[in-house]
C-alpha cells in the first residue's frame, strides 16, 4: 500500500475551464480511494449474489434427508482426477455418517461411490425477480451425494446454500429501516434547530419520552401481537421499521446541535440577506452541511441493523424458520458453543459474512464521506 501525500497548502486555482459537478468530483475522488472502492465493489457483489442465490446454490434452502443423515457434514473435498483410473474430471465422493461412540463425534467416511460434478443442471425450482427457473450453477444431481462446499448444519442442510440464501434477508431488511430512522431524525433535528423555541422544546421532550421505552419489551410485545400465520419476514421487517420509528432520537439531537452551530454562520446570514425563504436556507445551506455527518452515520447504521438483526435472532425474534438470515445461522453456531469452533469450524462462515459485510459498508461510508467533503479531497 502506498501512502498518498496530502498537501496542506491551499490548492491553487486550476486552469481547467469546465467545472465538474459536485457528484462527478466526489465520484472521481471516491474511485481514487482504493480501500473504499474495494469495499463498494464487494458490497455490489454481495447484492448480486443475493439476487441470484437460488441459481448459485446447488440445493434448496430446506432440503435434508431423514434416512441418509448428513448432520454437521464436513465440507466435501473436490477431486479433479480419479487416482485409480487416472481420468480427469471434477467429482465428489459420497460419505456415510457414523457416530463414534468413544469420542462422540460425527464421523464421515467415503463410501467409495463417486459423484461427478455437473454444471447448469436442473434441480429445485425457484423464482428470481419473478422469473421461475430450476437451473443450478453446479451440483451432482444425486440427492444422496451432495456437494457440501461449506459443510452442513444441525439438520444436515447445505450451509453454502443457506448462507447465500440468508444474504437476501440480511442485506435488505436493515437498509430501509435505517433510511426511515435517518429521515425522521434529520427532519426532527432540523425542525428543532431551525425553529427553536417551543418546537425545539417539544421535540426534545419527545425524544426523552421515547428514549424511556424498553425496546426489548416493545419488540416482544409487538411480535406477539402479529397473528401467528403472518409471514415472519414481513413481521421482522415491520419490527425493524418500528424500531426505526423510535430510534431516531440520538441522530436528531446531534443534527440539532450541529445545525445550531451552522445557523450562526455568515453564509446563512448572507442567504437571509438575499431574501432566501426559510425552506431554501434549510435545504440549500444548512442541511447540506450535514452530508458528511449523515453519510458516516448511515454507513455505520446500515451494518448496525445487520448486527441488530443478528442480536434479535439471538433472542429468538429475528428471522425464523423456514427463513434464514446470517444472524439465525450464527445463532445456531453460538448454541453449539465451543464445539462449533473445534469440531465444525465451517459453522463460523455465516458469522464472517456478517463481519465482512459490515467492514465493507464501513469502508464504503468512510470513502464516501471523504469524497463528498470538498475540504478533505486529496
Amino acid at each position: 500500500m502506498t501512502a498518498l501525500p496530502t498537501p496542506i497548502q491551499p490548492a491553487p486555482p486550476r486552469t481547467t475551464a469546465r467545472a465538474q459537478s459536485q457528484l462527478q468530483v466526489a465520484w472521481g475522488q471516491f474511485c481514487r480511494n482504493r480501500l473504499a472502492s474495494t469495499g463498494g465493489v464487494f458490497i455490489i457483489l454481495l447484492y448480486v449474489l443475493a439476487i441470484f442465490a437460488p441459481f448459485v446454490a446447488p440445493d434448496g434452502l430446506s432440503n435434508y434427508s431423514t434416512t441418509s443423515i448428513t448432520r454437521y457434514h464436513a465440507p466435501t473435498p473436490l477431486h479433479f482426477r480419479d487416482p485409480k483410473t487416472g481420468a480427469w474430471g471434477l467429482y465428489v465422493e459420497k460419505f456415510a455418517q457414523t457416530m463414534n461412540p468413544t469420542t462422540f463425534l460425527q464421523e464421515f467416511r467415503p463410501t467409495g461411490e463417486k459423484c461427478p460434478v455437473r454444471w447448469f443442471l436442473p434441480g429445485d425450482t425457484y423464482r428470481i425477480l419473478g422469473i421461475a427457473g430450476n437451473l443450478h450453477l453446479f451440483g451432482t444431481g444425486n440427492p444422496n451425494c451432495k456437494i457440501f462446499l461449506w459443510g452442513a448444519e444441525g439438520l444436515g442442510r447445505d450451509l453454502f446454500t443457506r448462507t447465500i440464501y440468508a444474504s437476501q434477508i440480511s442485506l435488505t431488511i436493515g437498509v430501509l429501516s435505517v433510511l426511515i430512522s435517518t429521515l425522521i431524525g434529520m427532519v426532527m433535528g432540523s425542525l428543532a434547530a431551525y425553529f427553536r423555541g417551543w418546537v425545539d422544546n417539544v421535540i426534545n421532550r419527545f425524544i426523552e419520552v421515547i428514549s424511556a421505552i424498553p425496546y426489548l419489551f416493545l419488540l416482544i410485545l409487538l411480535r406477539s401481537l402479529f397473528p401467528q400465520g403472518a409471514n415472519p419476514i414481513l413481521v421482522l421487517f415491520l419490527l425493524l421499521c418500528i424500531l426505526a420509528f423510535i430510534s431516531w432520537g440520538d441522530l436528531a439531537r446531534t443534527i440539532r446541535s450541529q445545525l445550531l452551530s451552522v445557523r450562526e454562520q455568515d453564509y446563512v446570514t448572507a442567504a437571509n440577506a438575499l431574501g432566501s425563504s426559510q425552506g431554501r436556507i434549510m435545504f440549500r445551506h444548512m442541511l447540506p452541511s450535514m452530508t458528511s455527518y449523515l453519510i458516516v452515520t448511515l454507513s455505520l447504521a446500515i451494518p448496525g441493523t445487520i448486527l441488530l438483526e443478528s442480536g434479535l435472532s439471538f433472542l429468538g425474534i429475528g428471522a425464523v424458520e423456514p427463513y434464514v438470515s446470517w444472524g439465525t445461522l450464527l445463532n445456531q453456531t453460538q448454541d453449539g458453543g465451543i464445539a462449533s469452533i473445534t469440531d465444525r469450524p465451517w459453522m463460523l462462515i455465516p458469522g464472517f459474512f456478517i463481519v465482512f459485510t459490515v467492514m465493507c459498508y464501513q469502508l464504503l461510508g468512510d470513502g464516501l464521506r471523504d469524497a463528498f467533503d470538498p475540504r478533505k479531497r486529496q
Partner: protein
Amino acid sequence: MKTKPMKYMLTLAAALTLGGSFAAPFVYPAKWSADPASAAKKGGDYRESTISDYKTINPFTSAEARSIPNYFMSLGTGLFTQDQTNDSFIPHMAESMPEISNSGKRFVVKIRQGMKFSDGQPITADDWITTYKIHTDDKVGSNAYDSFFINDKPITVKKLGEYTLQFDFPQQSATAFVTMNYTPWPDHVFGKAYTAGGAEAVKKLWGLNVDPATVVTAGAFTLQSYSAGQRAVLKRNPNFGEWNKDSAGVALPYLDTVTLKIVKDLNASLASYLAGELDVYGPRNADDLAQITKANTAGTLKSTLIPNVSPAASSQWITFNWNKADSPFKQKLFRDVRFRRAMSMVANREAMVQLALGGLGVPTYYSVYPVFKKYISDSAPKYPYNLDGASKLLAQMGFTKKGSDGILVNAQGQKLEFTMATNSGNTTREQLGRIFADEAKKIGVKVNFTPIDFNVLVGQLTAKGESRPFDAILLGLSGGDNIWPYGANVVPCGTNLHSYNNPTNGKCATAQEQLMTKLFYQGDSTVDQAERQKIGLQLLNTEASLQPVIFLVGGSYHVAYNNRLGGQAPRDQMDSYYGSRGIETTYIK
C-alpha cells in the same frame, strides 16, 4: 410468645434427664456410595454452577427447585428419605417409621432427639408446626402451599409432644411420605417473626442481602456468603454431624464449603468445567460429551464422564386443540383419534433422535418418563413412524386426493393444514418441529410451524374455553416423582395442563378421559406400590390408545465430574431422578 419460654425449659429438662445419651444418629448406608467410607477425607470445597441468579435465601418465598434454601440448605433434612436402591422410604429426622392409623390417613411420627440447628438450638416439633403454618398461609405465597392440600382439602399437622408429630390426611395418599418430608425451619426465627408481624414479617426475612450469621438451618450446610450475581458460598453446619454419620462413624458432611457459581449459560459453564474451575457439569448433548472426552484424552482435564446414564426425566410432545368452536373442521379433525394416530406415525422419532439429539436419546410413546421403568409397559399401544399407515388412516377419514399444491383435501375441498407453535429460542424443539413438519409434508399434510414467545405459548396452552387460540403446540414438561408419575394438573379433566381439552365447564369429552381421571385419583390415593403400578399401567394403556398427546423423544442423562471428587453413587444407582451423588457424602480426594 407463650411457646418460646416453654421450649427453652423443656430443652433444659431434656438435657438434664437424658444427659449425653442421645438417640442413635442417622447413618448414611454404605451401599449409597461407590467409594468405601474409609477412603473419605474431610475438608475441601465443592464447586458447582447455576445458570440463573439466586433469588432469595428465604425458604418460604423461594420458588426454584435447586434454590439455596430449598436444595442446598435443606440437604439431609426431612423426616424420611427415599432409599435410591429400592425407592422405599426410611426414617431420617424421624426416629422410626410412623404409626399409621385411621385407615391410612393418620401418621404419628416420633422425631429423632438431640438434633440441633446450625446455631445450636434444638430441633423440635414446634419447628415443623411453624413451618407448616407459614407454608399454608396464602398471604406468604409459598411454593409448597399446594403440597399441604389434597383436592382442596387441607392436611393438618399437630404437635403431640415435644418430639411427636401427628399428620392427618383428608384421604389416603400415595405421596404421603413426600408430603411429610418438608424441611423444618427454625421456629425461633420464623415463628417469632410470624407471631409478631404475620406473613409480611416472614417475607421480609432472609433476602439476598441477609447477614449470613443470622441464617439458621437444620441441613448439612448453612450460608457463608453471597455476592450479587457471582456466587454463593455455603459452609458446613457443625451440628449436622452430631446426628449424621457415615458408615465408619465419621460426622457428615465431609466438605468444608460448597461454592455455587452463577454463570449466564451452559456454554460458559462447560468452559469453566473444561478449565477445571467446576467439579461437576451436566452434559447436554453429544457436543458436550465430545468436548469433555477431548479434554480428558488430551490430559488438560482429569475428569470422569459417564455417558447415557439413563433417559432424562422430561418429555417432548405435540398436543392438538380439541376446543375449536370457531373452526368445526379443525375441531372434528383434532378430535378424531385416527388423525392423532396418523400424526404419531408421521413423527419420525429415529430421525429426531439422530438429528435433533445427536444420536443420544430414545423415542418415547407415553407420558411417563422412560426413567420411571416401573410404570412403563411395552404392551401399551404404540404408533411408530409409518408414513404409509398414516396415509391410510387419513384416507379413511376422507383425505384421499391431493390438490395442485400437494396438500390433501377431502370431498368438501377442505385442506389438511394446521399451525403448530413452539417456544422460540429452544433449538432442539425447533428442530423437532421442523422434522415433524417436513415429514408431514411428504404425505400431503401442511404444518405451518412457528416458534413464538414462551409466555404467549403458555398463555395459549393453558387457555380455557370452547374456542382456544391454537391448533397444535409442541412443548415439553419435566418434574414429578417416581411414586405416582402422573401430573395432578395434567391428567384429570378441567385442570390447567389438560392441554388438549379444556372447555369452560372443565368436562371430559371422551369416556377415556373420564376413565383416566378416575384412575389418576385412584392411583394417587393408593399407598401400596404394587397396586399403584397396576393402576398406572391401566392408565398408560388408556392414554396410549386415545393418543391425546403425541410423545416424541427423550434425551439422555449424562454424568461428568472432576476426578478430585469422591463419594458418588454406584453406577447402577445413578439416574436422572436420583442424580449421581449426595453432596453430604461427597469428599475431595
